[in-house]
Structures are given as structure tokens and as C-alpha cells.
Symmetry: D2
Subunit: 155 residues, 4 copies
Amino acid sequence: MSQTTFKARDPDFAQRVRHSFARQEFMTFLGVELAGVSAGFAEIRLPYQKGLTQQHGFFHGGAIGTLADNAGGYAAFSLLSAKDAILTVEYKVNMMAPAIGDALVARGRVLRSGRQLSVSHTDVFSIKDGVEKLVATSLGTFMTVIGVADTEMGV
Amino acid sequence: MSQTTFKARDPDFAQRVRHSFARQEFMTFLGVELAGVSAGFAEIRLPYQKGLTQQHGFFHGGAIGTLADNAGGYAAFSLLSAKDAILTVEYKVNMMAPAIGDALVARGRVLRSGRQLSVSHTDVFSIKDGVEKLVATSLGTFMTVIGVADTEMGV
Amino acid sequence: MSQTTFKARDPDFAQRVRHSFARQEFMTFLGVELAGVSAGFAEIRLPYQKGLTQQHGFFHGGAIGTLADNAGGYAAFSLLSAKDAILTVEYKVNMMAPAIGDALVARGRVLRSGRQLSVSHTDVFSIKDGVEKLVATSLGTFMTVIGVADTEMGV
Amino acid sequence: MSQTTFKARDPDFAQRVRHSFARQEFMTFLGVELAGVSAGFAEIRLPYQKGLTQQHGFFHGGAIGTLADNAGGYAAFSLLSAKDAILTVEYKVNMMAPAIGDALVARGRVLRSGRQLSVSHTDVFSIKDGVEKLVATSLGTFMTVIGVADTEMGV
């Protein structure tokens, strides 16, 4: 993976990401925390609870996909102007290993930040006794809703 | 989409799907119900609650992806022998419209049921005042864990 | 798959699709023919030649992916205005069976035709002795380049 | 992207990859060359010719997808035993920028090498006047055909 460095257009991007993230009821519901933000990067973390598991006791693939979508989306959102919102166009996630442990952590990195479309790559790791293991990898595409601030958009 | 008809190898497939589905803590946690099963097909349903929304008030893309993964996976699982378990290899989901309404329903159909790998296609609809709207479409790949029954597998 | 019917905005869409298709040097190089167009639908066909095979003698997955991308893209292009061009954002293709036979045929259908983004689903079949077999299925996302006609765009 | 180091099981993996690659008629047809192989890695290169372009004069997305599939697949194949063949299960490719230049180069890296399934990530670059530009990124899944050597498989 070629690593690209991005410069944020909005100097207050980190606060804007945190604010938007906090408005996602689903993240609160699942217990996902925003662990870190920088320009073109977001890290989120989901502590284990039994309610997140599938039929074999592993973290559910849907929870893993949710993290992949969200870390990739907020990585992309960090590079937008303060006047624009973001929507997920699509994402694809490969499960690499059964996810067992104390928590999941997802790290999303922007690969392309275009005017209309962004592409992010996100790795999801399980953490058990402090050891990280790659459990999923994902590519996602996100659309900029130009001229509609994140807080103005919605139902 | 070419429609294929499948014959289940396990006559008790519907009960086996229901039993496995019920063991998924994450589905209980989210409120997802198994609404229908036939050979190579599964329908699941998720009633709206505020805890499922993203920052703009729509159903969260992660919840939508979870339904896509699960309906596709159980469609594939319905065609396995009673001695085999299933795991998600990967899935890809395209968001087609903001998902608003009283519930989401996902219908997964098997396109290929091979010895080791199955492929399913799943459509996700929002339901508002009884009217369905396509909000997402998905392709998923699933691996048969040969010789390990669903109830034997796990942590 | 829910089937949607679309109405073309450009009455001359079929000619526009044919004209654009004919300008693709890669299709001529491979021998791909445009077999049919309607509003939101395109069918393309690739006769077998040894030069299209992979190491086991099957049609190469790259050729199959090319058909999936192209049929899906022209299905979407058929619904655009005459003033707009189209670009592939991403596609995903699942291989369902080894592709052997006299020809491949790909049928692309639009699932969503938005202002900026279209989503198509494409099935690819092998044809052997007149019998069709599903060998691949694909989802693709395409971006409208608004206000730049297909013939104006380019290097 | 977490970088993983792999150890090849077959000491003659590089020769095995070269031999298999050379048997792909489609690569010869397109002019794709195998530029480098190491354990879990493959680099392939496609010089520009007009026959590879789409309607706007860019490298065709199908050619780009072909490279992504092939570099990812041979990266995975390098880690198999000499007794096993490989087949593409699925791949997904995101187009990042119009591909213009003297050549395309694709670098595939294995993320997971399991008994039955491998996952690779591939970046595709255009090269113009010696400068590389990322034009596409891809994730692919590949299946090991256990106990059937690459040269034994086929039509």
C-alpha cells in the first residue's frame, strides 16, 4: 500500500469529526469509541460484549463491517471542507480471521480524496491480551455532499 | 439476475437456520428477526429504533451491511448439509438511497452453492407506510466449514 | 433482484451507446461486440479465442471482469443525458464457475441511476453449444461527468 | 496497511510463478510482463498500446482490473505448495485516477495465506516519464485447488 500524506482543508477537522461521530446513535448503541483522528486518518475502537457476537462466539461480521465503513468514512470526512457532508457509496470487507478478544480496533486511511469521491482503506484488528491481530481489511468509497454541512443534513 | 432454484440437502434446513440465527447475540442486540427461510433464500427484518441511526438520522450503513451479510449467509447456510458450518469470506454492499422508515428488510438469494464456497446476492429495502424502497444491494462470498456442525464450532 | 424499469432522457441513447462503444479500442482489440441496448440495459458478447485464456485454458478472469465493467457501464450510460460522460468508480466481480465455451455474454442492468452516481448489476454467461451458464456476477459503480459529453472528454 | 512477511513453502516458487504466468495466453495477448516475484508478492507490467484504451483514450478499466486480479493472484500462488493450483474467487477494484502514460505496473501483496483461501491487495500505477501515479487499488480473494498442480489443471 502506497502511503499518502494529506493536508486538511479545515483546520478544525478533528473537532468536526468528533462532533459528527458523537451524533451517530448507532456507535453509542454498539459502544464504539473514536480513538484518534488526523488528516486522512481515523481510528475507532469497539470493546467486546456478548451482544456483539455471532453464532460461534466471534465478533459478528456485521460489527466488523460497521467499523470498516465508519473508520474509512471519517478518515475521508476529515479532509472535507467544513461546508460538506459525506455519505457511504459502497464498501467491501474481507474477513481474514475469526475475531476474538477484548476489543476490535479499526484504522481507516484515505487513498484518494477527490472533489466528489473519496476512497479509503481500513484494517480491522482484534486485540487480545494487548496483542493485535488483523481480522479484516476493507475498501470503501464515499461521496461528498457538496455545500451541505454535516449538521444541516438529514431526516 | 438469473434466478436459480435450489434443493436443500438437509430436509430440516429451515429449523437449522432458525436455530443458528437465534444463537447470534448480535441479532438479538440489534432487534433483527428472521422473517422467512426457504431453500437458498433468507429474509430478515430490522425494526427502526433511534439507536440504529447515523449522524443524519438515517439507518446506519453498518446496520444495512450487517443485514446484507446475514441474509446472504443464511441463504447459503440453508443449502448446506447438517454437518457443516458457514463463515463469511467477504461481502460488498452498495448504498442506493438514504434508508428511512419503520423497518429494514433484507432478502438474500443464493447464486452459487459449491462444495467449499457459496455466493449470495442480497437486496435491502426500507419500509415506510407499507411501501418498500431498495436502499442497498450486496454480493457476499461464504465458506463451508466441512464436517464441523454449526453448533460444534466456536470459541 | 428487484427489477426496475427506466426511461431514457436522451431519445437517441442507443445510437449514443453504440457510438461510444465503438470508440473503445480495447473492445476491438479483444473482439467484444455490443449485442443489444435498451434503456438501462446493455448486452455485450466476446467470442472465444485462445488469446483470451488463462493458464488452465479457461477464459481469463480479467476478460470476464472487463465484460462486467463494460456492460454495467454502458447500461448506466444509456440513461444519461447526451451532454454527460461516464467513468467507472469501482466494480466487484465474483467468479462462479470456470468459463469454457464458444463465447461469453454479459448483461448489465441499472439498479440505480442518480444524478452523480449509477449502480449496475451484471451477469456474465459462457455459451457452449447454445447453452448458457452463469460464470460470474458483478456490481459496479459509475460516476457521471456532468456537462462533458462523451466525445469531448479524454486525453 | 499492515505489512506481513511470508515464507514460501516451495523453494522453487519463483520459477513456478514464472512458468504459470507464461502459460496465460491472455497476458501474451495484452503484452503483460511479469516484472518481479518474491514470497507473497508479484509485480506485473503492461506497456501502453492504443489497443488497450477506452473511449476517452485512457487505459481501459478492464485492463486495469486484469492487472489487479493477476498480480494479486500470483502473489498468493507464490505461497502455495508445488502441488496446488489457484483460482480467482472474486476481486474488487477502485479506480482512483484516469490512467495515462507509457505503462501500467501492478504490485500485488498477500494479506492472508490460508489453507483454502488467500487474500491479496494490489495497487496499480501508471508510469509517465518515469513518474508513478496510483490509478487503482484492489482486494482479491483466491481459492487453493488442493492437490491439483497448476500444470495438471484445466480444460
